[in-house]
Structure formats: C-alpha cells, structure tokens
C-alpha cells in the first residue's frame, strides 16, 4: 500500500525516469566509435549535475551542524571538479577533432 502511495505521489518523477531512459538510448544510438571517448567524457561532465544537490545540502545546513557543513563543503568541491574538469577535458579532446577538419 505504501508503495502505491509513494508511486502516485512521485508519478511525475517516475514518468521522467522512464522517458529519459528511452531518450538516453535513442540520442546516442548512432555514435561512431571515433567519438566514444569524448562522448563518455561529455556524459561524465553532465552527471556532474549532482553538484546542484550538494549546493542545496550546503545551503540548508544549520550553522552549528559541523558534520553537514564540512561534508557539504567537500561535496561542493568534488561536484565542481566533476563538472568543470569534465567539460574542460571534453573540450580539449574535441578541439583536436576540429583542427584536423580544416
């Protein structure tokens, strides 16, 4: 019963999950093997969106909750590393593809 209420309470999210699974598969279906590495790296940067969770946790932490503050701070740093590093590395890889086209 609780499972059912949980599903109906979160139905919107569940719909998104299911649609995104199909979309994710569809969207990269025709990738040439040359682009496997940059695509993996780009996808790696996109899941860095977890940083938003870290920011929310950090921003909600009470001033005297040192556990949440320190772990949240660490989470923000790690998440930023994932996002920034991921996009920069991908750009560097792809920059080289572009140069040779000319």
């Amino acid at each position: 019963m609780t499972a059912l209420t949980w599903i109906s309470a979160n139905q919107e999210m569940i719909y998104i999950v299911i649609l995104m699974i199909f979309l994710g598969i569809e969207v990269i279906g025709r990738v040439p093997s040359v682009l496997h590495t940059p695509l993996m790296s780009g996808a790696n940067a996109i899941h860095g969106v977890v940083i938003i969770g870290a920011i929310i946790v950090m921003g909600k932490a009470e001033h005297d909750n040192y556990l949440a503050l320190s772990l949240g701070f660490l989470a923000v740093i790690l998440g930023t590393l994932n996002v920034v590093g991921g996009f920069v590395v991908t750009d560097r890889m792809l920059e080289m593809f572009k140069k040779k086209k000319k």
């Binding site: 999210m13 093997s33 695509l39 996808a43 899941h47 920011i55 989470a75 996002v83 920059e95």
Partner: protein
C-alpha cells in the same frame, strides 16, 4: 515568481543536456554540443544558488558554497588543462569518481538530517538515500581503482572465489539497506549507514580490481552510468528535475555506450566483468610458455630504406605510441615519406590505445589529416596492396591469435590483418606481452621484423635516417 524562474532554468538545463548529448555523437557538432551542455549546467547551477527556496526559505552559507565552487573550479580546470593526452582516460575516471563521492556525501548528510529530526519518514525517501549512497560510493571506489590501474599504480589483483565474495558483499549491502528502509519508521541507526558505506566502497574496489587494464575503458563507461544514476537519486530526493533528467540520461546513454564499446571488441559485457581477462591470460602464459621460435630484428637504416622505397606504407599506432608521446614525430615521418612519393596511411583499430577513439584524438593533436586515418575494415581491404606495415606500440589489436586460437582470451576480437601486407615492421620496447598479457605469434612470423626501442626515439632516428638517404 523567483521560483518559477528557477523552474525555467532547470528546464533550459535539461534541454541543453539532451541537445548536447545528441550533438556529442556527431563529429561535426560535437564540440558545440559540449559547450551547449556546459552553458545549460552553468544556468542550472547559478539558478540554484540564487533562486532556490525550500519551505519559503532561501539558501544560506554562501561563503562555503562559493568557496567550494572556486576551489573545485580552479583545481578542475588546471587538472583538465595540464593532463597529457595519453592520460585522458584516467582523468575522466578520476572526475567520475568525484561525482560518485559527491552523490554519496549528499546521502550521508541527508540521512544524518532525517535521523536527527524525528519526523514521519517515508520509506521511499530512505530507499532513495541508500540507493544514492551505495551507487555513489561503488562508483567512487571503482573509479579510483580504475584510475590507479590505468596509470600503473595498482596491478591486477584477484583471489580465487572473488566473484562469490563480491556477490556476498553485494547481497549484504542490499539486505541491510532493505532492513533499514523497512524499519525506517521505527529507528534510524547511523551505524548501519557507515557499515553500508564501508561495504559499498569495498565492493567498488573488489569489482574493478580483477578486471584487466585493457578492459578499463568499458569499466569506466559503466561506472560513468552508475554515477548518472546516483545523481538521479539526488534528483528524486529534492524533486529536482534537472538532476533527474541529467542523471538518468547519462545512466541510460552510458549503459548503451558501454555495450557499444564491448561490441567494438566483439565481447559481451558479462565476459568483460567476470571474465577476469588479465588473470586468465597470465596463468595461461605461465603454463603454456611454448617455444615460439626465433624472431628477427631489423636495423634502423634497413627499415628507413625499405620504407622510403615502398609505394605504400601503413602505420598501425597503439598504446606504445601514446605512452612515448610520439604522435608528432610520427606525423613528421609520414610527411617525409609522402615527400618521397610514398602513400602513407594510418590503420586505426577501434580499441587501439586505452580507449576507443584514443588514437584518433592523439593523431589529431599532431595535425594528421583526417582522410589518412582508415578504420579497421577499410585498412584490412588495403593491406594486400601495402608494401610495409609499421606497427607502433600496438600488440593485441594485431594478434592473429584472436582469429585462430579459440583458447585465447581475445579470441573473436576483430583484428587488423597486417600479415596481408608484404612486410611488417613492429616497433616495441621489448618482447614483453601486451596489456592483455598474452603472447603474439605475429612477432615470430617470417614476414615480421622487430625494431626495438621507445617509439619516439625510434621514430626520431628513422626520420634522421630517411633525411640522410
């Protein structure tokens, strides 16, 4: 009003992720796609910082947030800019691990939050927290091990029955998480949290350790999709749609990418994960050790003469070229031979190097023109009309055992048929087997001559020799 602007930011973010991923799988638009996704990410992050509200309350601790963003941003940019092209795969793995750790930390804080604020907790909420914790920490530990294996810090390690132990650890993790979730309305015990965290980390380590280095790209891609799912758990937790879209999108795309990579190697994912590539290969090497006969060496000047007077030369680059950073000299050699009227092309195996596409990236860095790079099928068609094949630090991708020896761990992998050419010159540092840990008969074939030495050094000497001809 402000909150609806935030909704718009998230919507923009989600759409850019989808478009970005779509463009990333098309060579002409890939770079633009990456930038679009990055722009969407920036909008989503900035929106969260300034507009997010929960229960009518805005975020605080801005000092901490900006401090973290700045520190992470600077380190991330520097690391990504400074890393050498050859070390890209391990860098991606490391960044992936950071994302996994971030997801796990969020779960720890959220658990701590609900454990210390006794309100009625929905078991579904606890389930999501634990899912984020387990998947995030497996991804973190696994990525760190993959990173260490790729840069040679950790070797292969497997003990008998390890798969059984792995399955038991996983079952314990799932069972104890289920127990906590089921009893979450009664009590939430933090010792469970840390126990599960420790076991998940252990599982991540054991999961990746026995897998051979040659299969690391597949594992990194798989862990990448794990982190995606962990990020999506965060999205569920905060009903945050951009996290959910981004996370699940990467989870699904990453899983497909993993399968595509396996397919390029003509192996199944199961075979990669439980096959323990490295372990079986090395044991066979020790037991087999059959006499392969003699190999012959070729001198630098002979090699230079043969190549200068050939009409068609095919270069087969491999990880050895990447390690030696020899892509620029390689391009120089190619230009010099072309000036002498030799038709020079590159034969690129889909999994040459440490990652699919690794060689293309590397040669592009050295300005090698795109139309000189042949894919495997094209190259195999052209080998019969090729005079000299120069194998630069590639091994498993030209190993005939993949076609003939059913007991070989790489049996069934499509290879470059270099033997169809009139002559094969193999540059390697020594006679040591390649990453898959297996002998290569090619080196003992009558058509093959060995040219030992570091790829960069050898190529420089070759260029000098050709100049003096």
């Amino acid at each position: 009003m402000e909150f609806s602007i935030l909704t718009l930011c998230y919507l923009v973010g989600s759409v850019t992720f989808i478009i970005g991923l779509k463009m990333l799988s098309d060579p002409a638009n890939a770079r633009k796609g990456n930038l679009i996704a990055a722009a969407g990410m920036t909008i989503a992050i900035a929106g969260t910082i300034f507009l997010y509200e929960s229960d009518g309350e805005k975020l605080h601790n801005y000092g901490w947030i900006f401090g973290g963003l700045i520190i992470g941003g600077i380190i991330g940019t520097l690391a990504a800019k400074k890393v050498q092209m050859t070390a890209m795969p391990e860098m991606v793995s490391l960044f992936n691990g950071m994302g996994g750790a971030c997801a796990a930390l969020i779960s720890i804080i959220e658990f701590d939050h609900i454990a210390n604020n006794p309100v009625v907790v929905n078991p579904g909420h606890v389930l999501i927290i634990f899912a984020g914790l387990v998947i995030g920490s497996v991804s973190f530990a696994g990525s760190i091990v993959a990173w260490g294996k790729l840069n040679g810090k950790f070797g292969d390690f497997a003990f008998s029955g390890q798969h059984i132990v792995n399955i038991i650890i996983l079952l314990v993790v799932v069972a104890s998480s289920a127990y906590v979730v089921y009893n979450s309305d009664v009590e939430l015990n933090e010792s469970f949290l840390y126990g599960i965290l420790a076991l998940s980390l252990l599982y991540g380590v054991f999961f990746v350790l026995p897998i051979g280095g040659a299969d690391m790209p597949v594992v990194i891609s798989l862990l990448n999709s794990f982190t995606g799912v962990a990020a999506a758990c965060g999205g569920f937790l905060y009903e945050n749609k951009v996290m959910l879209t981004g996370g699940i999108l990467v989870g699904a795309a990453g899983t497909l990418l993993t399968i595509l990579m396996c397919r390029a190697m003509n192996r199944s994912l199961k075979n990669v994960l439980i096959g323990s590539f490295g372990a079986s290969g090395s044991s066979k090497g020790a037991a087999g050790g059959k006499d392969q006969g003699q190999y012959k060496e070729v001198s630098l000047s002979d090699a230079a003469v043969v190549m200068s007077y050939a009409s068609k030369v095919m270069i087969v680059p491999g990880y050895g070229l990447a390690v030696a950073q020899a892509q620029h000299v390689c391009h120089e050699l190619e230009k010099m031979l072309a000036e002498k009227g030799v038709d020079v092309k590159y034969a690129i195996h889909p999994v040459a190097g440490r990652m699919p596409g690794h060689m293309n990236v590397l040669l592009a860095e050295a300005d090698v023109s795109y139309d000189k790079l042949l894919e495997m099928e094209q190259a195999n068609d052209e080998f019969p009309s090729t005079d000299v094949v120069l194998v630069l630090g590639a091994n498993d991708v030209v190993n005939p055992a993949a076609k003939t020896d059913t007991s070989s761990p790489i049996y069934g992998m499509p290879i470059l048929d270099v033997e169809l050419a009139k002559m094969v010159i193999v540059n390697k540092r020594s006679m040591k087997p390649g990453y898959a840990g297996i002998e290569n008969e090619l080196f003992f074939r009558p058509k093959t001559s060995m040219l030992f030495g570091d790829a960069k050094k050898v190529l420089q000497d070759l260029v000098a020799e050709i100049k003096n001809l």
